[in-house]
């Protein structure tokens, strides 16, 4: 079911957390709400499921206005960050709870619980208590509980935050599999860009209560609208060079080194500050546009090696290279930037 949030404003007391936000989520789409801690992701999610009332704005599920509908009646499944399983009920009762409060028949409940338990692979855990489950199992139970009454919308608030790295990887594809299998419209809240990029159709990147960019993961990675977005996506992260415009070129701050500006960019006036963003994969020994520096940090990541190169003005560029390059700490190098993949940002941080 399509969700549309129109001019949503939310404040707690005097502090306005979200101001005039609009967001459209398509039917069957999985959208990530990505952003740093405290930017209002959970608040948005709670507004969608009705736990928080909106101070202003309108919320539509499909063609129905649900702004004033209570959370009990919205038919939204929510997986909470800490799973919020009921400790006094076993797994079966936890999953059956949404049906129990609707007073469905025992046989019906049983059929649906077995079905959903199969879907999330917890069929053999039904008699356990939440306390006797591992994090990943609890997560599946929470997912099953959210899905059991066939909600129109599934909301996931940082569902993977409490899991270890390996399990996180596993559950990522698991959740996506279930979402695709059920065809449900889903909103995933996360502050992990890898999660957002790997699981979702589109990403809404939030900062300070605003959506700063809304697009597909690939597009957002390649065409960030601002340096904030560029800095948020990508691992290892993008490196920024600060400088000014000099003779139609980019001159590094406190340095005589100049770099050509990527083609097709409207250059700000002479002397205006400017920022270059260089992703690690585009700073490589083989590229022609050389920048001299000294290796200031080496990190082996197994298949790849990550280098920090400190330029003469103190700025740092990052490079990721396949292992066998064998550069050492302190070594003087002169590696090249792939000119057309450089991201240029204006004084206000917006992409040029």
């Amino acid at each position: 079911m399509r969700i549309s949030i129109e001019n949503f404003t939310k404040s707690f007391g005097d502090t306005t957390v979200i101001e005039d936000m609009s967001l459209e989520i398509g039917d069957g789409e999985m959208l990530a709400l990505l952003g740093p801690s405290g930017c209002g992701k959970s608040t948005t999610l709670f507004a969608i499921c009705g736990i928080h009332r909106m101070n202003a704005g309108r919320l539509m599920f499909g063609d129905t206005d649900v702004t004033e509908v209570s959370s009990q009646k919205r038919n939204v499944g929510v997986v909470f960050q800490n799973y919020a399983l009921y400790p006094h009920m076993n797994v079966y009762e936890n999953i059956a709870f949404p049906l129990k409060v609707r007073k469905e028949s025992k046989a019906e409940v049983d059929r649906k619980v077995q079905e959903i338990a199969g879907l999330v692979h917890i069929g053999e855990l039904l008699q356990r208590r939440p306390m006797q489950l591992s994090g990943g199992q609890q997560q599946r139970v929470a997912l099953a509980r959210a899905l059991i009454r066939k909600p129109d919308i599934l909301l996931l608030d940082e569902p993977l935050a409490n899991l270890d790295a390996k399990l996180r990887l596993e559950m990522r594809s698991e959740i996506r599999r279930i979402q695709l299998a059920t065809g449900i419209t889903a909103v995933l809240v996360t502050h992990d860009q890898v999660e957002a990029m790997s699981m979702c159709d589109r990403i809404a990147l939030m900062d300070k209560g605003q959506i700063v960019q809304l697009s597909t993961p690939k597009d957002m990675y390649e065409n960030p609208s601002s340096d904030f977005v560029a800095g948020f996506l990508g691992n290892p992260p993008i490196a920024f060079l600060d400088g000014t415009v000099a003779d139609g070129e980019f001159r590094l701050a406190n340095s005589q080194v100049t770099l050509p500006v990527p083609s097709g960019i409207e250059i700000p006036g002479e002397g205006a500050p400017m920022r270059f963003g260089v992703r690690p994969e585009f700073f490589q020994p083989g590229n022609p546009l050389k920048v001299p520096g000294k290796v200031s940090f080496v990190e082996t990541q197994g298949r790849e090696e990550l280098y920090d190169v400190m330029l003469e003005n103190g700025a740092v560029l990052r490079s990721i290279q396949s292992q066998n390059a064998g550069f050492r700490l302190g070594q003087e190098v002169s590696w090249g930037i792939e000119q057309d993949r450089v991201l240029a940002f204006g004084p206000d941080g917006n992409r040029l």
Binding site: C49, G77, Q81, P87, V101, R145
Partner: protein, 434 residues
Amino acid sequence: MRRAHLLGLGFLSPALAIILMLFLIPVLLTVMFSFTNMSTATGISGGAYEINAASLRKLADAGAQESFVETLGKESFVVDDAGITAAAAAYGEQFANEVGSQMLGERFSSRRDLERAFRKLKSRPRSTRDIKKAANLFKRSVLNIRFETAGGLVGAVTDNGIEMTPDQQELLTKTIYTGWTWTSDNFALMAQIPYVWRVAGNTVLYVVLTLAASVGLGLFLAITTFYLPSSSATSFRAIWFLPRILPNVIFVLMWKWLAWDTGFLSSLFANFGVPPRNWMLDTGVNAWVFIVLINGIVGASLGMILFGSAIKSIPQSMLHASEVDGASRWQQICYIILPQLRWPIMFICAYSTLSLLTSFEYILLSTDGGPGGATEVWSLMAFHTALDNYAGNLQYGLGAAMALMLVIVGILASLVYLRIFNFNDLVAKPRIEQ
């Protein structure tokens, strides 16, 4: 013993001292008193032996033969050396010698017989009045004489020529002792009190009703204040907590004002033509309603605080989850909140039964067991028997025996609760977990 052990003992010592002073010593004293027949009449120090009208009646009640009691009560006249010496001083040696030589050792059951015998003597006093007086010098009686020991009494009685079988002697010394003695009769006595079963029933009723009222009201308050905005919830809670910090006497006085025949209820109902009456003591049912309300409201405040904090410790997200799962407020309370209050509720029940069993101050202050014993509970009965008796004879021993029954019931109940709670478990991990 290692030094650490001593240190631990040192830290424990205040607690041990308190247990000793406030629990063990009172219990031991209660046990001790309950095996005595101490009362106002016996006093709590020692007593003495004295035959008098009252003790003779007691003796008769205790089943002594009538003739024996009669003999004890009668005076007799014995011609002995003490009497002769007295007679010599009063009526001259000659008379005394004559009495001594002719009548020594004789015994008369009435004064007239002795007078008649005197009249036969030559040197007898002239006037009839003097003969009477002289006869009186030989009067011997055990009546109204205090003896410190049983031996003294028995000696005196035998000296008076009253023959006693050993059984009679034992009965006599036992019955007429005015001090307290060790006895295990109190428990049998207790069972014979005609209203004792009714009091036991009242006690059960009191504990059950008050518990239900205070837990119910406490839950209601905790849940309603939980859903209230926090500022008004705080003041609401403070108001309900007042009865607990208010002095008992003032709290009960306020209820009495409410219920008096010139009080609030009467004035209110007067508008509807209901004649004024004391609503609290009017009927037994009324009295019970008031007892349960008074105690229940005081008890509810504790429940409110305990349940309230337990509800607050339920993670917010769990309540949110139940909301989006479609649970109404009522279902949220029934399925999420109440199940997680299981331990606090059981704790309050256990704690309150124990404290209600022994607490009677609100009943004492409000109905004092009335009307007509309708609200007399066990602890109040013990208090009345031992310390506040209409008849004026405070029966410390019997009262202590009654209190001992409460101690025993309380200890048994504690053991049962300890089993139910499995206290080790309770201490080991929190019952409201994520």
